[in-house]
Symmetry: C2
Subunit: 264 residues, 2 copies
């Protein structure tokens, strides 16, 4: 198979990475995309670096076996903890979501500005965003918001309880940030709620969109874009395919068709 015709691989701990898939699908309608969600072991955000690395290696090996031309790690936790390891085992380019999100934040923040990063416990503990934003141009604060993921998975993004949870985590930061990075692929689904709590003067960076743009740029530079408009999408999970399919439709309007199962 010509390299340009090979699929793009995306993986996430579960369905959060579908926000990245959706952006990428819109930008690149002609590409074949394989999405893997590790629904048997979701969430990653409360687990140890060792566990996240082991899970990520297994999934990367599986997707590389499918002859992908680029691997996009659409999970902030896996990007924070396992990106170098995945790169060392991959013959094709591997992109994460941290560097694109950090890059977008730096382009929006004023010099000396304040960047607030929100993410899972594991992402925040890794300080991956602080490293990606280092250099002294901005001041960085990171805040873990572990309940946001289950809130999204429950489909409660527009219930009053979502606003209450967002206030609990973020009210202390109101008016105290110039840029906010949504450092978890689930969080774009709570963007409006989060925006109301932090206030209108905070620019919100959606790392899903930034990651999709980075993938597009990488394929362009390497001459690997497929072109066309009839790309196929394939969804594979490690557990509960019907639940995945139902939530993809409910939360993001994505029709997955039949979802396959690969157990580890």
């Amino acid at each position: 198979m010509k390299h340009t015709r090979r699929p793009i691989g995306i993986f996430d701990s579960g369905l959060g990475g579908l926000t990245v898939f959706k952006e990428l699908r819109a930008m690149l309608p002609g590409e074949d995309i394989i999405y893997f969600g590790d629904t048997a072991r979701v969430p990653y955000g409360t687990k140890s670096p060792e566990a996240v690395k082991a899970f990520s290696r297994e999934i990367a090996a599986f997707l590389l076996g499918r002859k992908i031309k680029l691997l996009l790690v659409a999970c902030n936790t896996a990007s924070s903890l396992a990106l170098e390891e995945i790169r060392s085992m991959s013959p094709v380019p591997v992109l994460g979501v941290i560097a694109p999100g950090a890059g977008a934040a730096l382009s929006e923040a004023p010099h000396g500005g304040r960047v607030l990063v929100i993410g899972t416990s594991a992402t925040v503990a890794s300080r991956a965003y602080s490293r990606a934003l280092s250099g002294g141009r901005v001041r960085v604060t990171e805040k873990a918001c572990p309940l946001f993921v289950p809130l999204v998975e429950e489909g409660w993004c527009s219930k009053p309880v979502a606003a209450e949870v967002a206030r609990e985590y973020l009210a202390p930061f109101r008016g105290k940030a110039d840029v906010l990075i949504l450092g978890c692929t689930h969080y774009p689904m709570l963007k409006n709620v989060i925006a109301r709590v932090v206030g209108p003067d905070v620019r919100i960076i959606d790392s899903a969109r930034a990651a999709a743009q980075a993938a597009l740029g990488e394929l362009e530079r390497r001459g690997l874009l497929a072109g066309g408009s009839r790309g196929r999408s394939e969804f594979i999970v490690s557990d509960a395919p019907e639940r995945f399919s139902a939530l993809a439709l409910k939360l993001l309007g994505i029709r997955t068709g039949k979802v396959k199962v690969k157990r580890f």
Copy 2:
């Protein structure tokens, strides 16, 4: 080793089963207890029956290898979906939390009374409590409350947001039940919040206590009680031992000492 001196094995998807451990430890201070928490794959409540069965078999085999005299499945989801399978592979008695909780509810409910069972999505979908309560003596309603587990794991049991989540799930049942079964081992940590929503006339059944009593009864009948008062407690998890230890202390006041790790 004499059978009476062998340890009791308890397992749960994570730390919720510590509510059962705590009751059992208080009732049986002389017993050695090994607690296993599957923190690498928690939660079970949103996963498929196949995944929960596979995880449960692995853990049961591991604990049986430790020469336990009784296995207590302190996870409602695993009890709902995997109890018969674990029994078929075990030479020692295996108890779950469903039958004890249902038994306690039947002893509290008036004839023709209304029993409300709350649990994870997987427990409710299995209808295990409805089967255990069948026979026509009571009317049963089951309601899944998936956000309660992450809320407890976040340590937010007494924050306003806990009351808001409880209202979202349970306000429609206020005054409409005689007995409420806390069908998840995390839920006793939210008992006060839940009680305020459903109202003062609802008797709340804590399946953790009922399960510990059932284990005590089973050991008594078989002449397997160790006696004494200096039992050892051993904690083993599949990931993130420090987090487990910190939450055990924060949520339940349990000092675990060094927590071991067994990865699958």
